[in-house]
């Protein structure tokens, strides 16, 4: 129902029941906010969005619903004073180390303080000295910086369905942490890093691996090979002021060379290889060899999630390693052998949009004959930091091409970085393998989009293949429950742990939100559109490798190098 309200003496018709903050945003009236995350965290915790409601005093705009005749003021001298006071109280026990804090200049607390005109903090609060939680290979928690907005708690619960973080104790002693104040390493955490995007400050961040990469770049006895995930080439520009979705693959290659990487290869190659192996596995399962639905295994956060929360589905998980790991395994086998380099002398560094990839690379299952596939993983953000530290003027770099052979790729691999991309790439190849016909419609629009769960079907030689595409772990939980209860039936399900897929990964530039994710996704589809070859099985290097080296998808050698196993983990 439409009701009449006044905001700052102006009359408006708005929808009843929406919050003051929501209607003000729709009307273009800015109300400052801090703990608010649309649809995820609307709890009025920080009191920064307070407004004057006639007859009702000061109310948080993010929780107060509009009713007919409501009179609201958003900007009065008293409000400005109260908001400043609230900020001062939050800042009173927040470390004042902005100069060397890693979120400095990209911190919501810092910019809000500036915006609200906080120029002094009159109080100095008592603080508790908390230990850092830096035991996982992916994520570091620094409770000393936490302002208790609870955005991470909401995202971990509502979006990811993991519930690793919860507020405990009360009042001044409140601490946002895993159960029993354990490390994230000791609880059921997917290491997806979505809490990092939720955090307005530097209380949660990735485990920094840049130092170890600088060190290895300095080691002249090693051949340092870098691979770059698809989603990084549409987001890295944001770290240098470019629009989200700007295509920067060519500059990124140049930057890698200038940083001293010996070979600049592409995870997209690993993605093409994944399609060959996973497509073959799907066909075998459709013929009765192994349980259906088959679940994709590219997303390392998803893998850790399913190991903790749905281990009964582990037999459904594709045995294929992720593109990152397939790439590493090929760099240290095929590439090493054709170039006559000792596999121990090759160091593989990955640039990933992901925090969970750091964990994945360190898994013992991700070794071939005792040698790790991937040695070091840095996020998009860490890579940007290295470029800045090296004094490289990224925006004005000339473009260069990825190196052959492991940098020769198809458009099918590029779209791995966005939700639905793996499914689309797989269907392009599987359809041709099975029917012998070319898939007329290259864009499988049914599988595209950003809805949390999407369904499609494709006819393969008279058999209807039902597929689902999922992004966000809570959605995965719901679909798996429906499959378990027999309410849904599929042959093939793609799951990406992060909302939007890797373009929304936990290692991507901050901020990452729905709008930015959509732009990055569109960027990947535009790369695919422009590629000459758009199907993994037409990648000439992939074909050569199968002819000369692996023989055929699913061969003994392919299994030794490119497939893996999983293990059930405790969910409590």
């Amino acid at each position: 129902m439409v009701v009449n309200i006044t905001i700052n003496d102006q009359e408006f018709e708005v929808e009843e029941g929406k919050t003051i903050l929501a209607v003000a945003q729709d009307l273009g009236i800015k109300i400052p906010k801090l703990c608010y995350l649309k649809d995820k965290n609307e709890i009025g915790a920080c009191r920064v969005c307070i407004v004057e409601v006639a007859g009702n005093g000061y109310q948080p705009a993010c929780t107060f619903p509009v009713t007919d005749g409501l009179e609201v003021k958003t900007n009065t001298p008293r409000l400005r004073e109260l908001r400043r006071l609230n900020m001062e109280l939050i800042l009173a026990n927040h470390p004042q180390d902005c100069l060397h804090c890693e979120r400095s200049t990209n911190c919501e607390l810092q910019s809000l303080a500036k915006e609200l005109g906080v120029e002094e903090v009159r109080f100095s609060g008592e603080t508790i000295d908390y230990e850092l939680d830096d035991l996982t290979p992916s994520i570091v928690r620094d409770p000393n910086k936490c302002i208790q907005c609870r955005r991470c708690v909401s995202v971990c619960d509502k979006v990811q369905g993991v519930k690793a973080l919860f507020p405990n104790h009360r009042g001044f002693d409140t601490l946002i942490s895993p159960a029993f104040n354990k490390s994230l390493d000791e609880v059921a955490c997917a290491l997806c890093g979505q809490c990092i995007h939720a955090c307005p400050v530097a209380a949660i961040k990735e485990k920094d691996s840049t130092e170890e990469v600088w060190e290895i770049l300095n080691d002249e006895d090693k051949q340092v090979v870098v691979q770059v995930a698809p989603a990084v080439r549409v987001s890295l520009g944001e770290e240098f002021g470019l629009e989200p979705g700007t295509l920067v693959a060519d500059k990124l290659v140049t930057a890698c060379r200038r940083l001293g990487f010996d070979q600049v290869f592409d995870t997209v190659f690993g993605a093409d290889l994944t399609i060959m192996e996973e497509g073959n596995e799907l066909l075998a399962r459709l013929e009765g060899e192994g349980p259906l639905p088959m679940l994709t295994s590219c997303s390392s956060g998803w893998i850790k999630y399913i190991e903790h929360f749905h281990s009964d589905f582990l037999p459904n998980l594709s045995s294929c390693k992720s593109p990152q790991q397939m790439f590493g395994a090929m760099a240290k086998s095929y590439y090493a052998e054709t170039e006559n380099i000792n596999r121990e002398d090759i160091v593989v560094v990955s640039i990933m949009p992901c925090t969970a990839k750091k964990f994945e690379a360190a898994r013992t299952e991700m070794e071939v004959d005792g040698v790790r596939d991937v040695d070091h993983v840095i996020t998009t953000r860490e890579f940007a930091k290295m470029i800045k530290m090296a004094g490289i003027d990224f925006v004005n770099l000339p473009g260069e091409e990825f190196d052959a052979p492991l940098g020769i790729t198809t458009g099918a691999g590029d779209i791995f970085g966005v939700t639905g991309g793996v499914m689309e790439a797989a269907l392009r190849t599987v359809y041709e393998e099975v029917t012998g016909d070319e898939l007329a419609k290259l864009k499988l629009t049914d599988v595209r989009g950003f809805d949390g769960v999407r369904e499609a079907s494709i006819e393969l030689n008279g058999q209807e293949i039902k597929v689902a595409i999922i992004n966000g772990l809570n959605n995965a939980n719901e679909v798996l429950e429906a499959v378990k209860n027999g309410k849904k039936e599929y042959h093939f399900i793609e799951v990406m742990g992060c909302p939007g897929g890797c373009v929304g990964g936990g290692g991507q530039p901050i901020p990452t939100n729905d709008e930015i994710i959509a732009k990055r996704g569109a960027g990947l589809y535009s790369i695919d559109d422009k590629k000459k070859i758009r199907k993994s099985h037409q990648n000439p290097v992939i074909n050569k490798i199968y002819n000369d080296y692996l023989k055929e998808p699913g061969s003994k050698k392919a299994h030794h190098l490119l497939h893996t196993t999983y293990k059930a983990r405790d969910r409590y």
């Binding site: 690793a164 507020p167 405990n168 942490s177 159960a179 029993f180 609880v187 409590y572």
Partner: protein, 169 residues
Amino acid sequence: MMTTVKDRCPGCDGNEQDERYDELDKVIAEYKGKPGALIPVLHAAQKIFKYLPEEVQDYVARGLEMSPSEVYGVTTFYSFFSTTPQGEYKIGVCMGTACYVKGAGKLIEEIEKELGISVGETTPDEKFTLVQTRCIGACGLAPVLTVNDDVHGRLTPDEIPGILAKYRD
């Protein structure tokens, strides 16, 4: 079918024969799946185990199929729940306004001296736990303290040793 505590709770060591878990199982079965199940189950668990050690909280999480972070959050939020062992007798000294003004602080000092513990602590023999409480509504008897369900009012510090002696044997 017989299951051991170990089967039910991989995190709970050395309690295979502990019958208290059977009692807790009955409570969990009664509340499981119902909205707001956690708090009554924790109440019962605290009654059964006297306090809520980590393994009991873990056991409750598994039983109710809830995240242990949520269980721990609730346990630590409410002051009624205790995560450390409690004495047989819980001494609660009222620090409401009337009792405070009438010298409840002196009572606490005397108890601390007598028992050798501070507020919030339990004696090594697990006989007494000392806590401060908010107003218990017996202002006419101020200053007042409770020992489990007994109320002692209009106290002076020199009466403390006598009161404690009653519970010592």
